[in-house]
Amino acid sequence: MKISQRAIKTVVISSVVALASTLVGVSTSHAAETLNVYAALDYSQDVATAFTAKTGIPVTVTALSTGPLLAKITAEKNNPQWGIYWADGAEPCANFDLEKQLLPYTPTGTKFSLVGKKLQPSTRAYNVTGFTEMVGVLYNASKIAKPKTWDDLTTSKYKGQVGMNNPSISGPTFPFIAGLMNQLGSEQAGKDYLTSLKKNGLQIFDKNSKTIKAMETGLINVGLVQSSAAITEVNKINAAPVKGFTPAVTYFSKTTILPSCIAIDAHVSAAQQSAAKQFVDFAFSTEGQTIMKASNFGDSLFFPTVQGGVASPAAGAIPTLAANLIQIVDPYKWGPIQGEVNDWFTKNIA
């Protein structure tokens, strides 16, 4: 059947009109009053839903892991779309602050604990809603003795048995490396330690979940992962015991605190900034903190930074600075060298 030119034009134009109508008809996610939250925490959507129910302010949550989230923010650099950034690790926020991208804000009516006060930056460019520890040393008690110090992991007893995350992929892992370097006295000392771990058969995995899976499949018996991920795994296996796999968590001296940071973009509209401030206040409120702990696993197993705050039952006792077993690293010192350290790690350790 011969198809006329007119018929072809008609089909093409009608298809374009149909497509154009879908483009025009679809409402964007960037209505003036909608608050855009970019978050890498499990509970962010629940908090956003409760916030909207309470205040009537619509919120759109873009939930990704830290790497893709920061990639999206970087790609949008010439026209930022986010109002709130909320993720583990203070280094990205410190870098945003150095680039004058953040709006300083002190949450209304919030009293911070001693650890909480120490984690807040002097510029008030971001706030810390909670913290976990890097790392929880997860080990299979059925197969291996409990390691007690960082040096234990470089001995023959643990040869080929240890795994950790790749800091280039896993947002929480660079603070762990920064903490090692801080504790050992220098960047080079930290690199030397990691090199000795590598020589002792250290295996690298992308993220907490992959490192833990390697333990479950018996590829390794010690995993250096985020404390919340380690505790979640222990609780999971305790609820459904498995023969031959008895995960347990221990912490070496010193463990580095990993803050969950929430920050407001200084370049969004006044309406979004106002909504963002209310969102931050909500995150620190009793209601917000309760929602964040509600699921009792994963990111909910954080330690609070507010006075009188209580951790989720499964998280365990809140670590204190007094015992001198935990340390806080300066993100403004370590953040600017994150690229160089991650690059070294990828080329020499991963």
């Binding site: 008609t10 679809v26 964007t28 996610s29 920061l70 790609a75 899976k213 499949t217 031959g244």
Partner: protein
């Protein structure tokens, strides 16, 4: 006396909006408008960041080649070299296998030809990621075989290295090469083979003659499979990391996901990938050296199928079934069995075989709704992509050699040669531009933009299918 002229009132015609559209906008203008905005603009903007990071606020320099200096460091260069050789090997083997299968399916009465004709499109449409996943689920630690007490560490180690990656890229390349070769073979009459046989040549001599006549199609097959292989991310994402065998697309993805991200570096890697694709095209053009291989004429008769002996039927069918088993059967079995085994992936768990995962998908809106959404988006994508591909393919096969044809060919090939993640970033760069927002062009962050991106990634393969 001459009659005075009476002014003629212009005839009023009923206004037709439809007529207005058809007169004002030529279909071809609309076509180019769409091609530029969904294909050309995102690609150009993304690649420009390799040379001018400051253009899109990704660095301080207006012009620099420093990103390329990083690309030629050992870590990235090794990955690019791996991709290059894997591309050549998979292109060669995929084309060889496709040629053999095409000959049996089109020129003989092998019983397996019907099932091949049905299955080839399944292989074409199956995502490479899914094929790799199926193989992985069977052989991984705690995988399907482990559950039944079978551990094959040798095969597992091969799978997570160049052998496994190259094998799956070859499987994925076979349908592309087959479509090109079979189209050409259909137009090739049997008189050339008969001429060779009449003059005392063997079947092998006939095959060599036919292969020579099919050279343009063979080279096209090699070029397309090479481009698809070096740009494939699905296989790389599944098999590249665990075995530590890096390929260019995986390092590109890692560069996007790494902390901190460097888009100029990603763009530089993409430029190199594109140059490799251009290299393949140049090699193709040089091999053909402008020779004409036109064999279709008014006297060309369709070939008659050769009658195979029983042994020939058994061997040819066996070969095709075996090919389908390894390219489709194993991955489908791996993916489906993994979906039915509860506790898979954990060496220490108790296992149950059930349909619980399927019930979870059906019952949970969180899992079910994305399927509906994807189906709807796919329907729109398929409709628009086919229309655009029809126009594109008509342009590509035209005998006229103009700038627009070369422009379209290059960007369609660029779309094949660049991984999907490049498109994603290119779309952010293009549609999040301040000028777009200023003039009310609010596409960024919408479903519509996602559909446009799907159309852009579907267009090249759809065009090739219609050529």
């Amino acid at each position: 006396m001459a009659k005075p002229e009476v002014a003629q009132l212009p005839q009023l015609r009923a206004f037709s909006f439809w007529q207005f559209l058809q007169n004002k906008f030529k279909a071809i203008t609309v076509f180019w408008f769409l091609i530029v905005f969904i294909l050309v603009l995102p690609i150009i903007l993304f690649l420009s960041v390799a040379f001018s990071p400051r253009l899109l606020d990704q660095g301080p320099q207006w012009f620099t080649l420093s990103s390329f200096k990083q690309v030629f460091e050992r870590y990235f260069l090794t990955a690019i070299v791996h991709s290059f050789f894997l591309g050549i090997i998979s292109a060669f083997f995929a084309t060889l296998i496709a040629l053999a299968v095409a000959w049996y399916v089109l020129r003989t009465n092998t019983p397996a030809r019907k099932i091949w004709n049905l299955s080839i499109f399944a292989l074409l449409l199956a995502p490479s990621y899914l094929i790799a996943l199926g193989w992985e689920r069977i052989f991984e630690r705690g995988g399907v075989l482990n559950i039944f007490g079978v551990d094959l560490p040798v095969i597992r180690n091969l799978l997570y290295g160049p052998v496994g990656i190259g094998m799956i890229l070859t499987f994925k390349g076979i349908p592309f090469a087959y479509l090109v070769i079979s189209n050409a073979m259909r137009g090739l009459g049997e008189e050339f083979e008969q001429a060779v046989r009449v003059h005392g040549g063997s079947r092998w001599d006939a095959l060599k003659t036919m292969s020579t006549l099919l050279l343009p199609a063979l080279w096209s097959g090699i070029a397309i499979v090479f481009a698809e292989s070096i740009s494939d991310f699905g296989v790389a994402s599944q098999l590249s990391s665990p075995g530590r065998f890096s390929v260019a697309t995986f390092t590109l993805y890692r560069s996007v996901e790494s902390l901190p991200v460097s888009f100029p570096l990603c763009a530089a890697i993409s430029v190199i990938l594109l140059l490799l694709v251009v290299l393949a095209l140049l090699a193709q053009a040089r091999a053909l050296r402008g020779r004409s291989f036109r064999v279709l004429s008014g006297r060309t008769r369709p070939s008659q199928r050769q009658n195979l002996t029983l042994r020939g039927k058994v061997l040819s069918s066996g070969g095709i079934y075996l090919l389908l088993f390894v390219t489709l059967g194993i991955p489908i079995f791996g993916a489906m069995s993994a979906s039915m085994i509860e506790g898979l992936g954990n060496l220490l768990s108790n296992y149950n075989i059930n349909f619980d995962n399927y019930f979870r998908v059906i019952k949970s809106p969180l899992l079910r709704n994305p399927l509906y959404f994807s189906a709807g988006a796919a329907a729109i994508t398929a409709t628009v992509a086919v229309i655009l591909a029809a126009v594109s393919s008509k342009m590509l096969v035209s005998t006229k050699s103009g700038a627009s044809k070369k422009f379209l060919d290059f960007f369609l090939l660029a779309a094949v040669g660049l991984p999907g993640i490049v498109f994603a970033i290119g779309y952010i760069f293009a549609y999040n531009l301040p000028i777009a927002q200023k003039y009310g062009f609010h596409l960024y962050g919408t479903v519509a933009l996602l559909v446009l991106a799907y159309i852009a990634t579907a267009l090249p393969s759809t065009t090739r299918s219609l050529v």
